[in-house]
């Protein structure tokens, strides 16, 4: 019973982790940009949901498109205006650039929203799902389901739409795509924007679960990193598998070795995996 409950905890947590990592994986896999801004994007999504709820009573799950739209516009502008000019340089240049932008965004949020921890307190909480003694909080389950839906939609966009095929084409061969008439700069901006949409959506979904503060940005970013490396870069499935794996590993190591060692065990396994299978569990090139 205890083991089943811990497994359920791990899977639900893993679902949330996957939704933290999907956008990060997309941007890293397609643009080869390690987007340090990702954690702050998630936090900004949470604030959009928080203010939409406190000001207009919009449920955070309904505020997902709003948070996505705000983040898309911000990210599109950042990529087109600031990041595109250095896209041809080595990966460290874009890393440092997004690091700097993250400092700006994070401190802007500190000034604007303060560091106080807040949380969306639903007037009508969703309650828990009781499966014969195994309890699952419905807000987490719903957030996970919505995140999976969005991830599926992203997969659909990438594999079926014109812009999605262009994104994949740019990922596979930038020069060839440009020769075929793809506007590479615009595709970069759209991809970065889509990554931010996923971050904003995740932030909105997580606003009912985790305390909200600009200080949580680095926490989310750290998780996204581990999940991408664990699951393998550049595939939607990789982020999903990596997230679920991390959730389950953390939960069981907390049970076996005590909560203080949950992260220790997760990172130790990560190192082992990097040695025996450097591409991650589902490592593949691009979103083919």
């Amino acid at each position: 019973m205890l083991v089943l409950q811990v497994l359920a905890n791990g899977l639900v947590l893993g679902g949330l982790y996957a939704c933290i990592a999907v956008g990060f994986s997309l941007v890293w896999g397609v643009l080869n940009v390690i987007n340090i801004l990702h954690g702050s994007f998630i936090v900004l999504g949470s604030y959009v949901a928080y203010y939409a709820y406190t000001a207009w009573g919009i449920h955070p799950f309904v505020a997902v498109p709003l948070a996505g739209a705000v983040l898309f516009l911000l990210a599109y502008a950042l990529q087109a205006g600031v990041i595109n000019p250095v896209m041809a340089s080595p990966v460290l240049t874009t890393l440092i650039l997004t690091f700097g932008l993250d400092l700006l965004l994070n401190n802007a949020m500190l000034v604007l929203f303060k560091a106080d921890y807040r949380k969306v307190n639903l007037a009508n909480p969703l309650g828990v799902l009781d499966l014969g003694g195994i309890v699952m909080p419905l807000d987490r389950v719903a957030a996970m389901a919505l995140a999976l839906l969005l991830t599926g939609a992203l997969y659909g966009v990438l594999s079926a739409s014109r812009v999605g095929r262009a994104i994949v084409a740019v990922r596979m061969d930038r020069e060839a795509a440009a020769l075929m008439g793809v506007n590479v700069g615009r595709i970069y901006a759209v991809t970065f924007g889509l990554g931010a949409v996923m971050a904003g959506a995740a932030g909105s979904l997580l606003s009912v679960i985790f305390p909200i503060s600009p200080l949580n940005g680095p926490l989310y970013l750290g998780k996204a990193f581990v999940i991408c490396v664990l699951g393998g870069l550049g595939s939607v499935g990789g982020a999903l598998v990596g997230g679920l794996a991390l959730g389950v590993i953390e939960s069981f190591s907390a049970l076996a070795f005590g909560p203080e060692h949950a992260l220790t065990v997760a990172f130790a396994l990560l190192i082992v995996l990097l040695v025996v299978r450097p591409t991650g569990l589902l490592g593949r090139r691009g979103y083919e």
């Binding site: 019973m1 205890l2 409950q5 811990v6 905890n9 791990g10 639900v12 947590l13 401190n107 500190l110 303060k114 560091a115 106080d116 921890y117 807040r118 949380k119 307190n121 909480p125 828990v128 009781d130 309890v135 909080p137 807000d139 987490r140 679960i209 985790f210 305390p211 503060s213 200080l215 949580n216 926490l219 998780k223 959730g247 953390e250 939960s251 069981f252 907390a254 049970l255 005590g258 909560p259 203080e260 060692h261 949950a262 992260l263 220790t264």
Partner: protein
């Protein structure tokens, strides 16, 4: 004729002379604070407390030193929630900024780290947010703290639960692996065992933990009647939420330190109901102080006028650190670090914060920290008897 001239000169000089002098005399107090980074909510609380004191002292004409009046000037340095940097900045404040006195950085860990610096330079230092005895047992002469040792929180709590809630037999303790949260959890362990409670779970969680479900699942399986969780506000908000997620309902839930802050109640809503806690001060205490703030009521009013909120214990303790320093300087009649240090060591004064008397280690020994509980969305005092506002309510769902 000569006398007349002298009198005239004196009359002419009078309006300008002392005023010019007063403007020159300044007491500089340095405060390395975590104004950015994960501890910034705490750092900003301390800053609000210090600022309120400096403004009150200056509005009253400054600190009286013999016949002179000294203005207070606070020098803040942001250590970005990075303890080694707090130590560097404490040294910089003393050597570069030439501060006369120092307020410690936030919490027991950073206070202990920085206390060696002020000791080396012989600068009297007041710690507003350090309670763990490990901070004060280093044999230092220049460190004074406004928080009583951790057992003064866990002892009354355990006594009340023992007396009022006979159903409690088993206790589960979940602690953040950090100096103060772990130290108070260990005291809780002792206080509980002393009263015959069985401690069925005692685990630590790492700083930055984003999920407590596994630990809470184990706690649920151990079937305690009292859950005692320690950490800072973000940890405790998440732990309380996840307790609800897992359907954990027990007679008593105690959390330290967080429920005293209004942010905790706002972030957890109905889940905050009946959560008990203890802190070193509460706005409901009533003292008639000899310090610049006077009574507790007038302190509360001054704080509310400035910040549109009720002060919590961290903010009040920071103001108290300033008020105590001022009393000590005025009693020493000097800003000489050694003399002020001796005045602090021998102090026996009443303040808005409570009676102030430091023990041989420099830690305050005169306070009786209140125990309180969130009832109907606000913290009410359940101990000590003299200021009790309500009885302990049983049952946390």
């Amino acid at each position: 004729m000569k006398t007349l001239l002298a009198v005239l000169a004196a009359l002419l000089a009078f309006p300008f002379g002392p005023a010019a002098d007063a403007a020159d005399k300044v007491v500089r107090v340095g405060a390395p604070l975590p104004l950015t980074g994960p501890l910034s909510p705490e750092g900003l609380k301390q800053k609000r407390g210090y600022d309120l004191w400096a403004d009150a002292a200056n509005a009253a004409g400054g600190i009286r030193v013999g016949a002179d009046r000294y203005k207070v000037e606070l020098v803040y340095n942001d250590y970005q929630s990075n303890t080694p940097r707090a130590v560097q900045l404490a040294e910089k404040l003393i050597t570069d900024d030439k501060v006369n006195f120092l307020f410690s950085p936030f919490g027991s860990g950073a206070t202990k780290a920085a206390s060696g610096v002020s000791e080396k330079y012989g600068i009297p230092t007041i710690a507003a947010t350090a309670s763990s005895e490990e901070v004060y047992n280093q044999g230092y002469k220049f460190l004074f703290g406004t928080f009583t040792p951790n057992p003064t929180l866990t002892e009354p709590l355990s006594s009340i639960v023992k007396a009022k809630v006979p159903a409690v037999k088993k206790v589960a303790i979940l602690a953040r692996n950090d100096l103060f949260p772990l130290a108070i959890a260990q005291e809780m362990d002792k206080s509980a065992k002393k009263r015959g409670f069985e401690v069925v779970f005692f685990e630590k969680y790492a700083i930055g933990t984003m999920d407590h479900a596994s630990a809470l699942t184990q706690i649920k399986a151990a079937q305690p009647q009292w859950i005692f969780a320690t950490g800072y506000i973000n940890d405790l908000v998440l732990i309380r939420k996840q307790m609800g997620d897992l359907g954990i309902a027990v007679p008593v839930v105690t959390m330290i330190a967080g429920p005293a802050y209004k942010e905790f109640v706002e972030a957890t809503g109905k889940l905050a109901e009946n959560v008990s806690s203890a802190a070193w001060w509460h706005p409901a205490v009533r003292y008639r102080g000899q310090d610049v703030f006077g009574t507790t009521e007038s302190y509360n009013r001054a704080f509310e006028a400035r910040h549109k909120a009720v002060p919590d214990y961290a903010e009040a303790s920071a103001s108290a650190a300033g008020a105590i320093l001022q009393v000590a300087i005025e009693r020493a009649g000097s800003v000489d670090p050694k003399k002020v240090r001796d005045a602090l060591a021998g102090l026996d004064a009443m303040t808005f914060f409570g009676p102030v008397k430091f023990g041989p280690t420099g830690q305050i020994v005169s306070l009786q920290p209140p125990v309180f509980q969130i009832q109907d969305g606000r913290p009410v005092v359940i101990y000590p008897e003299a200021i009790k506002q309500a009885e302990l309510r049983i049952g946390v769902k």
